[in-house]
């Protein structure tokens, strides 16, 4: 979007056709990026808390796979990455003016996102059944060890930090699914066109950010 906007250099007004004021993106996109950057700090504070507590009280925490279901969550990670692909496909479709493609890929993203939340709920149910709840003094890793009565591991901090971090992320995914549904409804009403599809781009940014956060969370919470 180049313009012949005059630029002030010293006391002289210089007409420079390459001068571009501002960050050169539309306001809503800038607003979304600023929001996402604030969310970066939010999740960093949660992760930082987890790191501090893990280093301070290693006896409260367990090795990867001892309590948490790593294979199931790895599959869930794959699911979320797939939803990122479908989301970017939806955006690419409307960039070409493909209305049908936009709706189909948005629907796919919603379904995969809902599946991610569902699988996480199943995981939570299994963990609670094993006694892994926030602030549980000790808990049995029944499912992971396959041994009745399992080893008694961990302490209150593990459950608390786990559920806070993954719970907040799950909340973000759930909100994302709701917003995507709203965008799909608007797409079905024909609100997005080749020349104006800002809503699709904005929800896409949010959805990819949610995926990005999970990539970091999965590594730190489940694998380290």
């Amino acid at each position: 979007m180049s313009s012949h906007t005059p630029a002030l250099q010293g006391n002289l007004m210089v007409h420079d056709s390459t001068y571009e004021p501002g960050i050169q993106i539309y306001n809503m996109k800038l607003g979304m990026w600023l929001f996402l950057l604030s969310e970066v700090m939010f999740f960093t504070s949660l992760l930082g808390t987890y790191v501090i507590l893990r280093f301070a009280h290693p006896d409260h925490f367990a090795d990867p796979g001892a309590v948490l279901n790593v294979p199931l969550t790895a599959f869930n990670t794959f699911f979320l990455i797939c939803s990122s692909v479908t989301m970017v496909k939806a955006f690419a479709a409307i960039q070409k003016g493909d209305q049908k493609g936009l709706k189909l890929w948005l629907l796919a993203t919603i379904l995969i996102g809902a599946c991610f939340v569902g699988i996480q709920a199943i995981e939570y149910g299994a963990l609670v059944h094993e006694g892994f709840v926030p602030m549980a003094a000790k808990y049995h890793a029944l499912g992971r060890t396959g041994v009745e009565g399992g080893p008694i591991v961990g302490g209150p901090l593990y459950g608390s930090t786990f559920y806070i971090m993954t719970g907040f992320h799950g909340l973000h995914v759930s909100i994302g699914v709701i917003c995507l549904t709203f965008v799909l409804i608007r797409a079905m009403q024909g609100h997005y066109t080749l020349s104006d599809h800002r809503g699709v781009e904005l929800i896409g940014l949010y959805w990819h950010f949610v995926d990005l956060v999970w990539i970091i969370l999965f590594t730190i919470v489940y694998l380290i």
Binding site: S84, V88, L194, D196, I215
Partner: protein, 94 residues
């Protein structure tokens, strides 16, 4: 807005499926790497490097940061030193 959409569409279609396969392979590599018999430090370091690399791929290609103005890159880079400080500063406590 028309101009911005057209400008955004002028670049070649990014390799979305290639990035997807790279992310998939790296996720599998991460899970495998996590269960190797390595010192804890190298396990954590390797996993963090892989996670950050995956995050960068998502940010650059799926969030289209690669094709955004450089000024936006500057804005996005602002929290990074804060993140590093928050995580590493508390690590030095132990």
């Amino acid at each position: 807005m028309t101009t911005e959409s057209q400008t955004h569409g002028e670049h070649h279609d990014p390799p979305y499926m290639l990035i997807f396969f790279v992310l998939l392979v790296m996720t599998l590599a991460e899970v495998g790497y996590a269960f190797l018999s390595l010192p804890k430090f190298w396990l954590g370091f390797g996993l963090c490097v892989m996670a950050i690399w995956k995050a960068l791929l998502v940010a650059m290609y799926y969030m289209h940061l690669r094709w955004e103005p450089r000024k936006l890159w500057l804005l996005v880079a602002v929290p990074i030193p804060l993140v590093i400080i928050l995580i590493t500063a508390v690590l030095t406590e132990f």
